[in-house]
């Protein structure tokens, strides 16, 4: 939990700052002069809650955790630690995978909330400071158009992505046979497959739950 959750906080916060800055600038660029200014707050809020925070956070965590899980478990396969568990009458899948899956499934939604708070906060500051959208107007746009389904939909995606990332890290780690070269390949496969599945599931959730 500490390694995969707390350990990801600095990079998630850093990413959130730039997500907030860029989203505010782009939303303002698209909407200013076309619709009232509070739509900037609405646009930023809903984009971050539904799409940007869950997907960006999942990508960051996939890069960190899927790779580290695959590498760690792969190294344990190569050094016969997994076999050692088996002959101790310990189920290695349950002993090694379940805690990792639980850690990611629980920590990813928390990281998503952190990214949402930081990104929206930063967007509010830059909007008020440089984009001619006052803090009050920005807040009004967010709160007036806030839909709980957006927030909980983002959290639901985070749970799903956490499961996908951990499952890939564990699966490719346990698939390692041979030496350290194979560990490297498993690491790459875990990250690439996680990223592809995150995008695929993101579309599926959008289509099933946010399709007007």
């Amino acid at each position: 939990m500490y390694v995969h959750g707390v350990g990801a906080l600095p990079v998630v916060i850093l990413a959130a700052v730039f997500v907030g800055l860029t989203t505010a600038v782009q939303t303002s660029y698209q909407l200013m002069g076309v619709v009232p200014k509070y739509f900037v707050g609405m646009g930023v809020g809903r984009l971050v809650l539904i799409e940007l925070a869950p997907v960006f956070t999942a990508f960051i965590v996939a890069g960190r955790s899927a790779s580290s899980m695959a590498a760690e478990l792969g190294a344990m396969r190569v050094s016969e630690q997994v076999d050692a568990l088996t002959v101790m009458a310990v189920n290695p899948h349950r002993y090694l995978c379940l805690p990792r899956i639980a850690a990611l499934v629980l920590s990813l939604p928390v990281l998503v909330v952190v990214m949402e708070l930081v990104a929206v906060g930063v967007a509010l500051v830059i909007s008020a400071a440089a984009l001619d959208v006052s803090a009050y107007t920005f807040r009004y746009g967010i709160t007036h158009f806030f839909i709980a389904r957006d927030f909980f939909g983002g959290l639901g995606k985070a749970l799903l992505f956490g499961l996908v990332i951990a499952a890939n890290g564990c699966y490719f780690g346990f698939s390692v046979e041979g030496g350290s070269e194979e560990v490297g390949r498993a690491t790459t496969r875990a990250v690439v497959t996680s990223a592809a599945m995150i995008l695929g599931f993101n579309f599926l959730v959008a289509f099933l739950f946010f399709n007007a």
């Binding site: 050094s79 016969e80 076999d83 050692a84 568990l85 088996t86 002959v87 101790m88 009458a89 310990v90």
Partner: protein, 232 residues
């Protein structure tokens, strides 16, 4: 009694085991000799249920090992200790926790009792006082001794050793050999040792077999010429 019946295994086009038959009696120490890469570890892993053979079967007291996808050999594993070639200790755990692991997670002994038994197992292999160290702080010989302590801590009936003396200095090698022989003499354990160490084989074995061209050949006495002939 452990029975290996016509076990075969190939990797790609390379036939590693070709109809291996072996019977290991209770309280017997059998050593399988052969140079590195000949398939000794493969045979040991098949006998421990860690690797499925292409053909053949392994029985413990008449009960066959299950190699299926959902294989459950827990009954066997509670009576088996396995010393892996590199030790296979867990880096994130202390020596004591490594040795207590089969008790705590495997046969579900209370942690306090497991720690006492783990300390006793470490003392038995001469590693008392090193409980707080981590595997990265151990020498190769110490790692091997901790691995042996972990294999013995649950008092298994059968103990398998994969190259137990590999890379050890002569003093440490003698210590490991005395330990293996002592387990048979004092505690009546059945032990299977795979090694390429001729001197170690001679010092511990009741019976020595040589793995050659995928089959086991019995040797009354090990001669260096026999061993060298394998490589040619």
């Amino acid at each position: 009694m452990i029975s290996v019946e016509r076990v075969s295994k190939r990797f790609g086009r390379k036939v590693v085991l070709d109809g291996v038959d072996l019977e290991v009696a209770d309280r017997e120490v059998v050593v399988i000799l052969g140079p590195s890469g000949i398939g000794k570890t493969v045979l040991l892993k098949i006998m421990a249920g860690l690797l499925a053979p292409d053909r053949g079967r392994v029985r413990y007291d008449g009960i066959g090992l299950d190699y299926g996808l959902l294989a459950d050999n827990r009954a066997l594993y509670s009576g088996l200790g396995y010393v892996f070639q590199g030790g296979a200790l867990f880096d994130s755990m202390t020596v004591l926790d490594n040795v207590a692991l089969p008790l705590v997670e495997g046969i579900r002994v209370r942690p306090a009792e497991a720690r006492v038994r783990a300390q006793a197992a470490l003392a038995r292999v001469g590693m008392g006082g090193e409980e707080a160290l981590y595997p990265r702080e151990l020498s190769g010989g110490m790692t091997r001794l901790v691995a042996i302590a972990r294999a013995l801590v649950a008092e298994p009936r059968h103990v398998f050793y994969d190259e137990p003396t590999g890379g050890l200095d002569p003093v440490m090698r003698d210590r490991v050999c005395e330990l293996i022989a002592g387990l048979r003499d004092r505690e009546g354990r059945t032990e299977l040792v795979v090694t390429h160490d001729l001197a170690a084989a001679e010092s511990v074995a009741d019976r020595i077999l040589m793995l050659r061209q995928g089959r086991l050949i019995a040797l009354e006495a090990v001669r260096k010429e026999d061993y060298a002939a394998q490589d040619s």
